[in-house]
């Protein structure tokens, strides 16, 4: 069982290079899409199976390529704890829907095998980001995922796509450089790269008088938080996202908005703040400020958009703000003395549930925007209309996604937003609670506008046809997840969110760090 964990990273990365070879063999080049779909499906099954088999709280650490050097293990540590399992399921769920959707969507491009190869590189690297147990390894996987995504954003090689990809590349390089500076400073302070051992080392550092942490740790924290906030596109570091995400092909927009900003940004922020640096009012307030700014600014920018994909991209910034706000308040509650673990647990449940839900409905909305764009040839809301009757499957899925993100019961978005709002109230932050309610109302307005202009009204174009069935299947998978996320909240909580939240709660204590491989 635990020997299978490296396969989650190994199979997609290996297959990505196998596809490049297959594409040059006569007769086999048509199989690359099937192969990629099979790999993602196997990964999703592995992830779900691990969630069910290990939901009692097991968190095996695996040393891939272990070499016993001078009595201490040297290798690539992969930690398959609850949080990593949740992220693996989210990543591969959206990836499966996107690759099935791409089977017919990508027909308009040449060299589709290149798309499949880069897609698997990105998926495998994201699995690596969430499974890795040491910081440098995490950095390398973040970079692999990012380089694959630069290529995928530029996949159309038209002028807009190249411009967006170049901006994305420049800001991505800036972010990774700062992340690496932060990791370097932390390594020089502690002599470890393993997250749990680094956390132990940081707690043993002598504290200078009058400061709560040494200046070097604060420098590293500033570099890491700034770099990761840039990767997660938090306001004020968001400028690249509304260009990059809409310019990519629709399945890639779904992957970037649905999971990449979460795996490389939000997940890494959570690990750094909760596990490595340790909860502290400073870091918690930075997360809260980033979250609130992103929610409010992202919502207003999205409300003014008339380009469907840009509207969805701005709305991603706003919804990712909810997750970071919930994580920040949880960290703030945990840093009080005595820490209120029940309220912090509720905040984390809300944040992680919203992460899962946002991946499902934003993936769904981007896929349906791709289907609409293919059928109508436009992304402008004002040039659409009456598509609910002309494209029944796409229209229905788009409506499910819009209702979910707007927070209409009984869809999943309602439950995660209400949990976050209740948790903020219980944590004694009434102003944040009011902001969260206000942004939820703004989101509702935004998606009423989408439904009004896209699905209702008089048809503006006559010859609009429903998209081919693979695109319908891709959207249907995520629509089912959106409905089930609301109805099956209790089993999901037991198998996915409780183990994941417990990892973050426990990583604050010494016993939790021991479970991740720290020396006693």
């Amino acid at each position: 069982m635990k020997e299978l964990v490296p396969l989650l990273v190994g199979i997609p990365l290996g297959t990505a290079f196998l596809i490049v070879i297959l594409a040059h063999v006569r007769g086999l080049s048509r199989l690359t899409g099937l192969l990629a779909t099979a790999v993602v499906a196997v990964n999703l099954l592995l992830g779900v199976w691990m969630c069910i088999a290990m939901h009692d709280g097991a968190a095996p650490a695996i040393w891939a390529g272990e070499w016993n050097g001078l009595g201490r293990p040297i290798g690539i540590e992969l930690v398959c704890d609850g949080l990593a399992r949740l992220m693996v399921v989210v990543i591969n769920m959206v990836a499966l829907a996107a690759i099935i959707f791409a089977a017919s969507y990508m027909r308009r491009f040449t060299t589709v095998w290149l798309f499949h190869s880069l897609f698997l590189l990105m998926t495998g690297a994201m699995n690596g980001v969430v499974l890795s147990g040491d910081l440098f390894n995490m950095y390398v996987f973040i970079e692999v995922a990012a380089i694959a995504s630069y290529g995928l954003v530029a996949f159309g090689t038209e002028s807009e796509e190249l411009e967006a990809a170049f901006k994305y590349l420049v800001l991505g390089v800036l972010a990774s450089t700062f992340i690496l500076v932060g990791i370097t400073v932390l390594y020089s302070l502690t002599g470890h790269l393993n997250m749990a051992k680094m956390a132990e080392g940081l707690r043993r550092l002598p504290k200078p008088e009058g400061l709560s942490a040494s200046p070097a740790v604060l420098l590293a924290a500033a570099c890491l938080l700034g770099g990761l906030a840039l990767k997660a596109a938090m306001v004020p570091f968001h400028a690249w996202l509304p260009d990059a995400h809409p310019s990519a092909p629709a399945p890639i927009s779904a992957m970037l908005s649905g999971v990449l900003i979460k795996a490389a940004g939000v997940y890494a922020l959570a690990r750094i703040v909760f596990t490595v640096l340790g909860v502290n009012p400073y870091y918690a307030n930075i997360l809260i400020a980033l979250g609130v700014l992103s929610m409010v600014v992202g919502m207003f920018l999205a409300l003014g958009q008339w380009d469907l994909k840009r509207l969805l991209a701005y709305s991603s910034i706003s919804q990712a703000g909810y997750i970071v706000l919930a994580l920040g308040v949880a960290a703030e509650v945990l840093s009080r003395s005595p820490p209120d673990r029940a309220v912090a647990g509720l905040c984390l449940l809300g944040g992680l549930f919203h992460l899962f839900n946002h991946a499902a409905f934003k993936g769904l909305l981007f896929l349906s925007s791709g289907s609409i764009e293919q059928a109508t040839g436009t992304r402008q809301l004002k040039q659409m209309g009456g598509l609910a009757r002309q494209m029944p499957v796409t229209g229905f899925c788009c409506r499910v996604g819009a209702l979910s993100i707007a927070g209409v019961p009984p869809f999943n978005g309602f439950f995660s937003k209400i949990i976050i709002i209740i948790a903020l109230a219980l944590a004694g932050r009434p102003i944040l609670c009011a902001v969260a309610v206000g942004v939820a109302v703004g989101t509702l307005l935004m998606y009423v506008k989408v439904q009004r202009y896209v699905l209702e009204g008089a048809p503006t174009q006559r010859a609009v046809r429903e998209s081919p069935w693979p695109m319908g299947v891709g959207m249907a998978i995520l629509a089912v997840v959106c409905v089930l996320g609301g109805l099956a909240i209790l089993p999901l909580k037991e198998y996915l969110f409780d183990p994941a939240g417990k990892v973050l709660l426990d990583s604050v204590t010494a016993a939790g760090r021991l479970a991740m491989g720290a020396t006693p």
């Binding site: 411009e163 170049f166 590349l169 690496l180």
Partner: protein
Amino acid sequence: MGIAIYILAFACLLTGVYALVAKKNIVRIILGIAILEYAVNLLLVLVGYRRGGSAPILARGEAPAALAARAVDPLPQAMVLTSIVIGLSVTALAVAMAIRLYDKYGTFDMNDIRNLRG
């Protein structure tokens, strides 16, 4: 003397950041990316440096503790190799994109390359 080289590393870092955010010519931005990566690589190597340290190669019969007492830290050197390879691929990708951008727009000036807006 010891602090000067750290100041140099951070000066390089700031130069790279300045080039990335303030320059409008794509070639200069790519040069900024290269400077930024050199700065981090320099910082990484410095972290493992020790004055008067020797190469971290275990001699036959030498105890590990004796090696740890005399040698520089080998781990940052392994990390810097990885970082250089990542930097190479990012720079190659940026140059490839710059060539395609020149084909489409006929210029390297970011002021003229702005089809996307707010």
